[in-house]
Amino acid sequence: MTRRRVAVTGLGLVSPYGGDPGDFFDRLLAGESAIRFLRTDDVPRPLAMPFVSCAGFSADAVLGRALAGTLDRFAQLGLAAAFAAWDDAGFPRQAAGLDRESWGVAWGTALGGTLAYEKGYRDLWQRGRERLSPLSLILGLNNAANAHISIQLGLGGVSMTHTVACASSAIAIGEAFRRVRSGEAPVMVSGGSDAPQAYAVARAWESLRVLASGDEDEAPQCCRPFSVDRSGLVLGEGGAALVLEDWNHAVARGARIHGEMVGYGTSCDHSHLVRPDAAGQARALAAALADAGLAPGDIDYVNAHGTATPEGDPVEVAALRAAFGDRAARLPVSATKSLHGHQLGAAGAVEAIVTVLALCEQALPPTAHLADLDPDCAGVDHVLAARRGQTLRAALSNSFAFGGSNAVLAFRAVA
């Protein structure tokens, strides 16, 4: 089977910093944390925790009130990110007269329409209502984001949602990549979105004791991957999308190419639901390198999964050491969740964009707040401050999910 080259021609974000990917990347380089302290008015006990919100995002303004009103928050974030990526790729949104019947969508979300169902439960059980709005079901569909993207952009090919916890959108991007590379689809929109500010979801994460602690003053610095005093991750909402396109198709229409996607590796730890396994993660790393036809020495940056949980970080570094061997000690690695938080099902797409932009800008964003490296996380070249003027040829983005599902994406800089 002939393998087509895959160009990244569109990047789109709804992020806590706003929607401009260049500005988003600059803020990461500057070490500007988007983490703030969230206090809700929930009953019986308000949520009070470090969190990342896209406070400046207005779905009504971006999507129009009529459309926004039929989407749950995660789908609003997703559709807005997809629109931004589509515009960035230079495609018209209107499909009239154009043949997009084989173009598709692969989307990732861990929680889907959880907020919509949570509102329904509150209405029924807390407010004593006896019936729900007919929109409730539509809002709660986990495949609402990919469906709306297909409808709005007139894409008639595959339209799927991947729900694989924190690897959801990395896997969505990988599956989209395979469809473009095989020639099945000339263009795929891929990415992910999540809105984890659902009361029960946040409470469930709290109970697992993996959320970073911090008060209003401490919140911006509370997520410290690889640090000896790390205390966990910070939940965040967001949406991120990439347009993947057949290289020749992109060149023929004169598209700007941000980078080349060259590989995708997946594996399952097959050992434990929440205890990560270095051997499993190393298999995904090796699979991505092999898929890309790259050697460990070809990789100049890894955007780590790096959630800052006590258990997860040393395992990821051990996996990198296993997969990269002698190269590991000189392998630049950073965990940008220290700044933008953990967007769950959208995290893989957010960090894929960070990885592509690192290659575009030839610059590395840091792991913030890493003053005191945990000796168990040593053995790679931790990026402690922004590095500009680098020579970056290829880079990986790691996403390692609860359930033991691992996904690694490989990108190459455009010469």
Partner: protein, 82 residues
Amino acid sequence: MRAIMDSLTIIREFLESRLEVAPERVLPEAKLDDLDVDSLRLAEIMFEFEERFNLTLHRNLKSPRTVGELVVLMDRLRSEQG
């Protein structure tokens, strides 16, 4: 006591707030299709009436095609059940 709102006004307010349809377009002879009222939106409007007036709409109601037919239907149900 708050005046009881007529059905046409309720429909106009709903369409303006949800679909940004100008009230002057919501005339009795206007076709619901032309106002972007699909089956889902129609279900929402009917739900609005159910909630406001504690009505129960039968599932096999004949779907109205115009604003006028919707007003007649809602007025009839409000009169029967109100």
